[in-house]
Amino acid sequence: MAQWAWLVALFPLLAFALMEVAPGRLRLRRDTLGTVAVAASFVVSLAVLVDVWAGARAAASWQWAQVGPVQIPMGWQVDPLSAVMLVVVNLVSLMVHVFSLSYMEGDVRYGRYYAILSLFTFSMLGLLLVDNFLGLFIFWELVGLCSFVLIGHWYEEKANSNAAMKAFLTTRVGDVAMLIGILVLFAHLGTLKYGDIWSAAQSGQLSLDVITTASLLLFGGAIGKSAQFPLHVWLPDAMAGPTPVSALIHAATMVAAGVYLVARAFPLFSLSPTALYWVAVTGGFTAIFAATIAVVQDDIKKVLAYSTISQLGYMFLGLGAGSLVAGSFHLVTQAFFKSLLFLAAGSVIHAVHTQNLHEMGGLYPRMKWTAWTWMIGALSMAGIPPLAGFWSKDEVLLAAYRSPYPILFWLALVAAFLTAFYITRATWLAFFGTARDEQRARHAHESGWRMQLPLGVLALLAAGAGLLGASWFGHPFTHFIAGSVPAGTHLAEPEPAGLVQGLALLAAVAGIAVAGGIYGGGWVSRASLIRAGRPLYVLLKRKYFVDELYGWVFVKGTVALSWLTGAFDRYIVDGIVNAVGWLGVQLAYATGDFDQAVIDGAVNGVGQAVEGGGRLLRRAQTGYVSTYLVTLATAVVAVLILLVLRR
């Protein structure tokens, strides 16, 4: 079955094409078309995974282009890592398709929504399937485009379209580094194919410096796509998109592309301790940095957004600590529990028409299904055994603990505590306590099977998917995923440590207990808490002022510079013309009256020709053109002098 893996990407592409060209009647069924296509993809991907699990591999490659002696092939491959991710992406995408049937019902751009969703699914699957960096980059940009369109789905609100642009531009910053990284590899090896690059790197064809440089540049792309500090600013704003989109793109799949990139390029990264170090530090720092911000968010989706940033940080920490398994395992489990949380949040938002946690409360009796599935996701993320999040987080913490930088372990442990804290806080504020907005709570209700079914399916996985990697069954996932890298790759497989598991569990329970105490038990009032830690509260509430800083330095800076160059063209040139003009004329005079004669002659000649165009001519004679000409002459002469002096 593995040799049919390319079908997985084909179905959504066909669906998208059909949706775009199909006439009248068919266009009305775009939702069905998209859902059926993804379902078909899901079935195929499942069959592929079974096949690959049994040891099958498949790849195909063909000549795409040739530049001189350099071949640029295009092709696809399936190995354990991509096979697992194919299933994850298809599953979450399918759930989101089903969920949206109800959530997006009656939307003004319902059909377009499904079309872009199909295009996104195709791009994401393509990203997982390709066997070379150029293909990766192409799909990388395509998913970014889809993300841009979907964040701005309700573009009538200016804030939404701004968020879309912010996401696109911020991730492009990372892409700059990534593209250069790809080019560095290409320039040194003349190939972009993963397999060739890995073997070249392992056989010592690349110096350590090149490996480190290329790895870090690639990681730059991952930082942008996976919203790691300092390029994390776009992800919270991306919550402006419809909630199912947040679940699919900004929690489970596209943001995971950065982690996938590092996991994919692990044979390269693992050769450079420096690169791994920076991956680990970035991940570890982001994990705790975003978790602290999540603690004070009032918007249920913003809590989940910062939580996603933090969890992605965990994955990078795992990878940076040298454990491919830890990073990719957490990637899988997070996809399930985080898309579950987002969809559950969507169900709540659909019911109460607000995203503000302080306008919720007391929803449990009316939305038991949503509440229970949410809590499964929350407990899974907090790391309560035997739910999925516990196992994968444990792997990450273990890897950090055994790594050369145990400080990262302690950071991650604090982040684990914070994770349990903020998700318990959100749970309590949304579902329990008294309803703070009676009106909303009274009208809240479940929204039918199309929204409940995905919640149920994802809850099952958020609870059970971890068993794949559980020590109880001898870590089957570990052995499986190790087959995605060439034999010589160094994979850290840390010894289990009881201490780590104990501490992780302790942190999770403590976080839940403290949050439950504060918000459920009423140990301290929220107001007094805010008063006591006012500066800290403001700092977190404003997200460490990173957005403000960027606004000042980059946005205002660019605008100012653009104004400056524009003004230069319009005013300054005129302003300095008297000074420069004199110099220019003198210089022109010195070079033999050449320019001067031409200018005068031309102006006079045309002056006689265009009679009646007095106003025009005055302008041409008195300022504008002469300004330009003087600048032109000055530039030429200045360059000349420069070159002569340099001689």
Binding site: I180, R570, V644
Partner: protein, 515 residues
């Protein structure tokens, strides 16, 4: 004699059709089919090119050269000329433009461009440049009742005349140093010169010829005419300047540097590197602040010239091939943008960026196409612009010009912002009523931000509510088929260049050898 005229077949056919257009137009300005007749010109030239392609070599005392390089640029020229006439068909009906002269001049400018590409002889290149330039000056001023058009023509003419003189002066200096104007001979003479760096006369010659070509391709600081002329010219002519004129000037530029001045590489390489960086950064930065679409495209084309120039700076066979590839993609993405612009201007009587409001609802086809052209200009896959940039980056990195590649990539991110300004208007702003409302809003079609930006107000719909905006009036003028055809052709080629680059890679690889 017959054999010696053969290599000139495409150019002769073009001249023939130029004369035919002029004659056909004589006495009656409303003859039908004039545009179609003009369009046959470049098509016939393309056929002629097919015949000429079988006879490579040098003719007429080495004045004329038929090689893969000249074939490439001739094809580019004829394709560009054809598309520009396609863009013009609708435009000339709506403007006080004399169609006969207009088409004739376009065809003659095309002849000039193809001559520039088909010679390794500096004087011949210069003659081609002049033929192209003189036609262009007149074309820019074709809307005789518009001050702005004439003003632009005058500026372009005055500045062009000066730089042309500078170029000629540079050529005469080169002739003085080497005793020839034939580029390969210049190269071999210079190869014998020992102290290239210290040769004052040579420095002056190089600087002057660079200035001559730099002006035509709008390199900073010789760019100042670009925004004014782009804005003032009839829009199809703006497109012609952006793609045809620029490509032809680059053809001459490449031929000059690669065939004539490789020995002086240490003189011009650092200079052009600096100019390339300044040009792309300056163009992109200034484009950010524009409110007029044509003016914005003017600055955009300055920035693009900076990208293209990097291929010359790196100066390897790969980088020159990348330059050609980029020029190819650049032709189609720019023609596409201008086709969409003309379509919108026909509807809205305005060329401000604000005129694109709500285009996503009014005309999704043009809106989506324009977005794809923009993506290509920024360099986002899967478009020809991406492949071209990728090829340029690759060539730069391969020759250890990593810093140049970095500057380019950063610049392309900046450029995203101003293209997005238009995209936002198309989808993210409420719809705009068609022409009559806009005219009442007091926006002059030809207001030039350089001089009167502060006085131009966004068209009337600025204050209208979304509900009102939904009920825009039907377009007053029917959509033009010619523009749609131009968009479709451009779109297909932009995507083809992005998705199936192989045959084009081979082609430019061969052309870049200049053999």
């Amino acid at each position: 004699m017959a054999t010696s005229l053969l290599p000139l077949l495409p150019q002769l056919l073009l001249v023939l059709f130029a004369l035919a257009v002029l004659l056909y137009d004589l006495g009656n300005e409303d003859r039908p089919g004039l545009g179609s007749l003009a369009m046959l010109g470049p098509l016939a030239a393309l056929l002629g090119l097919g015949i000429v392609a079988g006879h490579p070599g040098e003719y007429w005392g080495r004045m004329l050269k038929v090689d893969s390089f000249s074939l490439f640029f001739q094809l580019l020229t004829y394709a560009g000329t054809f598309l520009v006439i396609l863009l013009s068909r609708d435009y000339v009906e709506r403007q006080p433009i004399h169609r006969g002269e207009f088409y004739t001049l376009i065809l003659l400018a095309g002849v000039g461009m193809s001559v520039m590409a088909s010679s390794a002889e500096l004087l011949m290149i210069y003659v081609g440049l002049e033929l192209m330039s003189l036609s262009s000056y007149a074309l820019v001023g074709m809307i005789k009742r518009q001050d702005q058009s004439i003003e632009a023509a005058l500026k372009y003419y005055l500045m062009g005349a000066v730089t042309s003189a500078i170029l000629l002066f540079g050529i005469s200096l080169l002739f003085g140093i080497t005793g020839t104007t034939y580029l390969p001979d210049i190269a071999s003479a210079l190869a014998l010169t020992k102290d290239i760096q210290g040769n004052l006369l040579l420095i002056a010659a190089v600087v002057f010829v660079l200035a001559g070509f730099g002006f035509k391709v709008s390199l900073v600081p010789l760019h100042m005419w670009t925004p004014d002329v782009y804005q003032g010219a009839p829009t199809p002519i703006t497109a012609f300047l952006a793609v045809g004129s620029k490509a032809a000037a680059f053809a001459g530029f490449i031929r000059l540097l690669a065939t004539g001045l490789p020995a002086a590489v240490s003189l011009w390489q650092p200079l052009l590197a600096l100019v390339a960086v300044v040009t792309m950064t300056y163009g992109n930065m200034t484009a950010l602040a524009q409110t007029n679409m044509k003016r914005m495209m003017g600055y955009s084309s300055i920035a693009q010239a900076g990208y293209i120039l990097t291929g010359l700076v790196v100066f390897t066979p790969d980088s020159l091939a990348a330059t050609l590839y980029y020029l190819l993609a650049y032709l189609f993405m720019n023609i596409g943008v201008f086709a969409c612009l003309i379509w919108v201007a026909n509807q809205q009587e305005s060329e401000e960026i604000a005129a694109f409001r709500g285009l996503g609802q009014r005309a999704p086809f043009y809106a989506v196409s324009l977005a794809i052209f923009f993506l290509s200009l920024v360099g986002i896959p899967p478009t020809g612009g991406f492949m071209g940039k990728f090829y340029l980056f690759f060539a730069a990195v391969q020759s250890h010009y990593v810093w140049l590649a970095v500057v380019m990539v950063i610049n392309s991110v900046i450029s995203l912002a101003y293209y997005y300004g238009v995209v936002r208007q198309m989808w993210l702003e409420p719809c705009l009523p068609a022409a009559p409302g806009a005219a009442a809003g007091g926006t002059s079609r030809w207001s030039m931000p350089a001089a009167r930006a502060s006085t131009s107000t966004p068209p009337a719909a600025a204050s209208s509510t979304p509900e009102k905006a939904q009920s825009w009036p039907e377009p007053t003028k029917p959509a033009s088929l010619a523009l749609g055809v131009a968009v479709v052709i451009s779109l297909l080629l932009v995507l083809l260049l992005g998705l199936y680059p192989q045959p084009f890679f081979e082609w430019v690889g061969k052309a870049a050898l200049l053999g």
